[in-house]
Amino acid sequence: MMMKRRTALTLGAAAAASLAAPRLALAQSDVVKIGAVAPKTGPLAGGATVTQWPNVALWANQVNAKGGLMVDGGQKMVEVIEYDDQTNPGETIKAVQRLATQDNADFIIAPYGTGFNIAAAPLFDRYKYPQLAVSAITDQIEDLSSKFNGMFFLLGSTTAFVSGVVDVLKGMQNAGTLTGNKIAMVNVADAFGIELAAAARPLFEAAGFDIVYDTSYPLGTQDLSPVMKAAKAAQPNAFVAWSYPPDTFGLTEQAIIEDLQVEAYYTAVATCFPAFGNRFGAAANGILGAGGSNPDDEKFKAYAAAHMDVTGSAPDGWASATTYASLQILEQSIAAVGLDREGVTEHVKATTFDTVLGDMSFNANNFNERFWTVGQWQDGVYQGVGETGREGAKAVQLKQGWA
């Protein structure tokens, strides 16, 4: 018993000591400390390990390979401090607090997910960190940026995403490839899915579409076959799903099984993932999805090659490049004004940046108004087909069967 007690006490003492020990190794001024908080475990870990973490690694690798960040005329190496928030906003808050006050991070990369970015916003604001939020899509941009001066939105707004889909379908109708106005619409009954569906109903109707089937399914539904059967029975011209990664795959599997005959087929989040194209091969051709990019652009090609080279995986066709662009903006701002965080925020507001997506700047609400809204798998490549001011959009193709 004595042994056991001593073991427990030693463990406790070791834990207390390592908590109290300052991070001496990091207390050097010749490095720039960049904090990163995002899920490595929990429900959002799958998305973050495709979109967020590889870009942090790629950027830090590239900056250090060049000899470091340009700061006040000299160069400083980048040191990334990574924390797992376990897909729990309480952990995100704790980790940002830890980065700001214990690790003395010079800058913090915005977290992953809408709720997590908003939960962290008061802390970014208190310590004057610029927050270049990528994976955060909302219609509250004006409110949030007026409350949190350094909060920027790069990826788009909810309404813009829905409008993108409406415009693509309207364009197909005008071109004569979409021969009717009947839409089957489904959504995952969770935050983003609900928000998109609610925004879509009036927009579709205003554009003259008839929603012949409209239903939702709970998050985590395994058997989507009844949903697809009912959608097929409504005989729509187009199928639109405001879906999350697992059901984006699940619905498409069912569409193939049921041989759903539509002229346009759209699933939302994760359609742009390389894994989607790998999973469905030729059957993916013609499938529309949320977000896009221009894979034929030289900058994007170089980025994708480096991504493959450094991280061993391909970037997704949407938020990956935007995440990387947010880090380029940070890098260019530091080169311009140094490590002054409020200075960086003001610089981001006022400047047009040269990024992997082309020129990027922010309006009075800290909103990047030019982004990709819709993409489509065309001959095994995910191409951007809908945008709000980006170059290189391809023509939309008709969905022709599932072979």
Binding site: K4, R5, T7, A8, L11, G12, A15, A16, S18, L19, K40, T41, P43, E82, Y83, D84, Q86, N88, P89, G90, E91, I93, K94, A95, Q97, R98, A100, T101, Q102, T114, G115, I118, A119, A121, P122, Q140, D143, K147, N187, A189, D190, A191, I194, E195, A197, A198, R201, S216, P218, L219
Partner: protein, 311 residues
Amino acid sequence: MIAGKELQGVIVATILLLIAGALPYYGSDYLLSLGITIAMFTVLATSWALFSGPTHYISLATAAFFGLGTYTAGLGIETLPFWVLIGLAGVLGAGLAALVGLATLRLSGVYFVIFTLGLAELVRQVITWGQNMTGQKGLYVLTDFTEANLYQMLVALGAAVFLVGWLINRSRLGFALRIIGDDETVAAHSGINTALAKVLLFMVSGAVAAMTGAILAPRYVYIEPALAFTPLLSFQVVIMALLGGVHRLWGPIVGVIPFTIILETISANFPNQVTLFIGIVFLVIVYFIPRGFAGLIEQMRDWSRSREGLT
């Protein structure tokens, strides 16, 4: 009325409470954010142990009550003062606990555990259904409360929980619950209304968890079902309370503090292996301190006394 030893306990508790409550005046922001986590789990684990300690009913409903409180604050923040919302959350939490208690506390053992686990999911699905019907999205709770404000609200709630727990222990109700925990049949034969006693305690526990959720809503800023009703919360509360020991009122707090600090150490130093290390810590707890820290402390006290007796 109060015996000398109890008076001593009350004085010590008051001093500790004042030291804890004054943390924002001497601690760093980082300590304060750790303090919020500790205060939150202290309140949740202590109120959980008020019910589960004497009755041995393991409740996994903490997340349901917590989420209910969070949503009460989220929905009412535009129209009602925050103080009213905390109270309202308490009333709703107690009401839900009464409903659930009346329906399930006649069940015993594993049936009760399973029902409470399902309750969080049930409430979450009801709210999601409501959102889906109305197109209502995540709620924003934008307030001017600082972390120090929220922390002190939690400490005050914690003090109230300890006071209530202390009063219940001294009352006929507390005595009745201890008898129920030892042998429910005997309790019923002694004329104790076992169902009523259990439901009353469950209501206290539910009300406190809902009030905690309401207090923390401004910290999360953005409320959505997946975040408010995370089932992990229920398990964390149970584990921390058991680590501390549920047979003493002060038991859970001596579990919460080391657990939070160890968890913080792990997530700061081994961000890629958090889950693995938590698992190892659990194994250590189960093998080396099965009766919780409270049991360990009492054991050490007995041991040092018996040594004094020998010399």
